[in-house]
């Protein structure tokens, strides 16, 4: 039955709009090599590889794990490829953790990526199926009405989104891997940026990035031999619900609430806001921060915006959210969820550098995807559970 699982190595690429200096395998190797260096392991120490990414059509390579097996040293090993839409980076890490928790392997390499510059991601997202209703304006057009519904339900001040973006954009320069870095960003710059999908402004949206993230997960025994202090997995959870159904709560989806509830139960947490020290939450549009604060139970329903407005989610607040700069600063889609998981682990290992939350001992990593319908989360801690 369930064994302990530790994160012993973490690696990320420099995320950027076009990483033309590396091939697809080169991008992954950059992250994997860093994770190996952190863990103090090499290829022969790895028992299995679990890889995740968002749709294959982004790069125009079908089931790319087959091709990437060579570059990931997977020959002769088990290799799994996960695809759960935007939550994939998180669910990939969870599938990898299960391989350790089930007692099957000692060390598992898990890696997630997107190299959008290799293909045409906008095309891939808007493939026109003749008899389906057209998606008018990409993800922003889909999510903007949900944000408006949240504003109406909660009565949140209109500048909440601007404040979230300002906070994340101020955190980003502290993270050496960030894609978007605006060192002198101001409230006025964000507020004055063009409305794309009203109520979403340009500077309240995430970029499209090339990037990868890798982690080495290890059993109890293997964690003892790790080079640096590990992060321990205190719990994982996943939930899905259908895209559209009558009476669906799109603002505060039940799948997310149920996922968080199971997660807290596993980690022995009763008051998440108090017992967690920070969280890396999947916020592709700034308004999703207050929405997820409620969904995660950090704030009562309708009051998530207060955390933003009061500065609770800032790096020096009582619940720092996205100290790394978050998805708003780097968004290699398939990797974005895993980056959240990895950044949470960096925090509890005390290795987050300039964006370290002082003394962080327990952190939450969060990913979601589809039409706010797929959720993957984990809690990691500095203490061995």
């Amino acid at each position: 039955m369930a064994e302990r699982c530790a994160v012993i190595g973490i690696g990320q690429t420099k995320h950027d709009v076009k990483r033309t200096d590396v091939s697809l395998p080169g991008l992954l190797r950059e992250a994997v090599d860093r994770a190996f260096a952190d863990a103090g392991v090499g290829w022969r120490d790895i028992d299995a590889v679990v890889i995740g990414k968002a749709p294959d059509m982004f790069e125009g390579t079908m089931m790319p794990e087959l091709y990437l097996a060579d570059a990931l040293g997977a020959a002769g090993k088990p290799m799994l490829r996960v695809h759960t839409a935007g939550s994939v980076g998180g669910s990939t890490a969870i599938v990898a953790a299960h391989l350790i928790q089930a007692g099957i392997h000692e060390r598992v390499l898990t890696v997630a990526y997107e190299k959008q510059s290799e293909g045409n991601a906008m095309w891939a997202l808007t493939v026109r199926i003749p008899f389906q209703q057209a998606i008018v304006a990409g993800a922003g057009g889909y999510f903007a009405p949900l944000i408006r519904a949240y504003m109406r339900r909660s009565g949140a001040p209109e500048d909440t989104g601007v404040k979230v973006a300002l906070k994340d954009r101020r955190n980003a320069p502290k993270n050496p891997y960030s894609h978007l870095v605006f060192p002198d960003v101001t409230y006025e710059m964000i507020e004055g940026s063009p409305m794309l999908w009203d109520p979403i402004r340009y500077m309240e949206t995430c970029p499209s990035s090339d990037g990868a993230c890798a982690m080495v997960l290890a059993s109890d025994a293997a964690a003892k031999k790790a080079k640096h202090k590990p992060a321990w997995v205190h719990g994982t959870a996943m939930r899905s619900e259908p895209t559209m159904f009558a009476g669906r709560d799109l603002v505060n989806p039940r799948a997310g609430r149920d996922c968080a509830a199971e997660l807290y139960k596993k980690a022995g947490i009763t008051d998440p806001r108090k017992e967690l020290d920070c969280a890396e939450v999947y916020v592709p549009f700034s308004w999703f921060e207050p929405m997820w604060m409620e969904n995660l139970g950090f704030a009562p329903e309708g009051e998530g915006w207060k955390m933003t407005q009061e500065g609770a989610t800032a790096l020096d607040g009582d619940m720092p959210i996205n100290a790394s700069g978050g998805v708003l600063s780097s968004n290699p889609i398939g990797a974005s969820g895993m980056i959240r998981f990895a950044e949470a682990a960096l925090q509890v290992r005390g290795l987050a550098g300039e964006h370290q939350v002082p003394g962080a001992a327990r952190a939450l990593g969060h990913a979601y995807g589809g039409g706010s319908q797929f959720f993957a989360m984990w809690i990691v801690g500095s203490e061995r559970p």
């Binding site: 039955m1 369930a2 091939s23 968002a54 749709p55 294959d56 059509m57 982004f58 790069e59 125009g60 390579t61 079908m62 089931m63 790319p64 794990e65 087959l66 091709y67 990437l68 097996a69 060579d70 997977a74 020959a75 002769g76 090993k77 088990p78 290799m79 799994l80 490829r81 996960v82 695809h83 759960t84 839409a85 669910s91 599938v95 299960h98 391989l99 928790q101 089930a102 007692g103 099957i104 290799e118 891939a124 997202l125 493939v127 199926i129 959870a237 996943m238 939930r239 899905s240 619900e241 259908p242 895209t243 159904f245 989806p253 039940r254 799948a255 149920d258 589809g370 319908q373 797929f374």
Partner: protein, 353 residues
């Protein structure tokens, strides 16, 4: 090491057809999911985890698995995951989840409608995007390269290949879900023209649309089953290098290793369901798994009789289990493959009490 005994307690599959023109994936899947759950004696809310396998490039649209979720009835929200692989690997992921103790039952399903695009061309973009895919070598041509290497090295004849096709398709006559259910004799088959030398049409799989579902259970959840439980005694999968030039295409070391890890050799094998889309691949796989002449291979007709992509591997596991449950033997081997020329392979050892 994993310690929970996991059983297959439900299996359903659609008939494989060349083109399912009227039903979409959700409409195809719904009756299959219901039937698998009915056999298992489990309702949707009893299922601990759901894992599916499919491929966006077959469907010709990104996130193809998302709408398929409509067939499941995912409410209240469910614990669910998806692999962009054959459903056999979805079954592996579900089995792992059961081993963690976090769930006691699992619904696994897979769907694939190869008819929507030009399958051999679609499969081309599985290849190295920089050096191989731009040359557009199609899947049949790559298999033919492997077949040529195998025939030359082993002295196997094209007649031996025709015998594999004849036996598989004759076996399929008794399988109402199969697509190609008749065959001329080997002599007649050999008189047909090459498709890509040394392969003729009968050496290649049909192009199929289909879907399938399996229910897994452990502990008390097994007791509700209407189907005789068939136990997974071992399961393992391995991948090989992708570049064809660095592989010995005449053998399948990944199948051999997975077979050893799954414990194929620990007892007598009564029957085997091998996912061999091409005739010569069945011979390579038999050898890799050490299956002698006494083993009944592909009593369902195998992938040469029906090959819905992303589904056919899962169907091998289901067919083997259903045959054991029906009394055809005590111990079986099921196998799934993915990628060009048997690049990735999964082996599962099944037993009934």
């Amino acid at each position: 090491m994993p310690s929970r005994d996991v059983a297959i307690v439900g299996f359903a599959q659609s008939a494989s057809v060349r083109r399912e023109a009227s039903r979409n994936e959700v409409e195809m899947l719904m009756p299959i999911l219901q039937e698998a759950k009915r056999q298992a004696g489990l309702r949707g809310r009893d299922i601990g985890v759901t894992v599916s396998g499919s491929c966006d490039y077959l469907a010709g649209q990104p996130f193809a698995f998302v709408s398929a979720l409509d067939a499941v009835g995912a409410w209240p929200p469910i614990v669910e995951s998806h692999v962009e692989m054959d459903g056999a690997w979805a079954l592996y992921e579900a089995w792992v989840k059961l081993q963690t103790g976090e769930a006691d039952s699992a619904l696994v399903y897979a769907f694939g409608k190869s008819s929507m695009g030009d399958l051999p061309e679609v499969l081309t973009i599985q290849l190295d995007p920089y050096t191989t895919a731009p040359l557009w070598p199609d899947a049949v041509s790559l298999a033919a390269l492997q077949a040529r290497a195998y025939l030359e090295k082993t002295g196997t004849s094209e007649r031996d290949l025709a015998e594999v096709a004849f036996r598989s398709r004759r076996a399929a006559a008794a399988n109402p879900k199969a697509q190609v259910r008749t065959s001329a004799d080997a002599e007649t088959l050999l008189a047909t023209p090459y498709l890509v030398s040394p392969l003729r049409a009968h050496d290649c799989p049909p192009i199929s649309d289909g879907c399938a579902a399996i229910v897994l259970a452990c502990g008390d959840a097994v007791k509700k089953s209407a189907m005789t439980p068939v136990w997974i005694r071992g399961i393992d999968h391995r991948i090989e290098a992708h570049a064809l030039g660095v592989r010995d295409l005449t053998t399948s070391p990944s199948t051999k290793l997975a077979g050893e890890k799954a414990g194929v050799g620990k007892g007598r094998v009564d029957l085997a369901e091998l996912h061999a889309p091409f005739t010569h691949q069945e011979l390579i796989l038999r050898e890799a798994l050490g299956l002698g002449a006494g083993v009944d291979v592909n009593p369902s007709g195998g992938a040469l009789a029906a090959n819905p992509m992303m589904v056919a591997g899962l169907v091998r596991i289901g067919e083997a289990a259903a045959r054991l449950a029906g009394g055809a033997g005590k111990r079986a081997v099921a196998h799934a493959t993915s990628g060009p020329c048997l690049q990735q392979n999964l082996v599962c050892v099944l037993e009934r009490d």
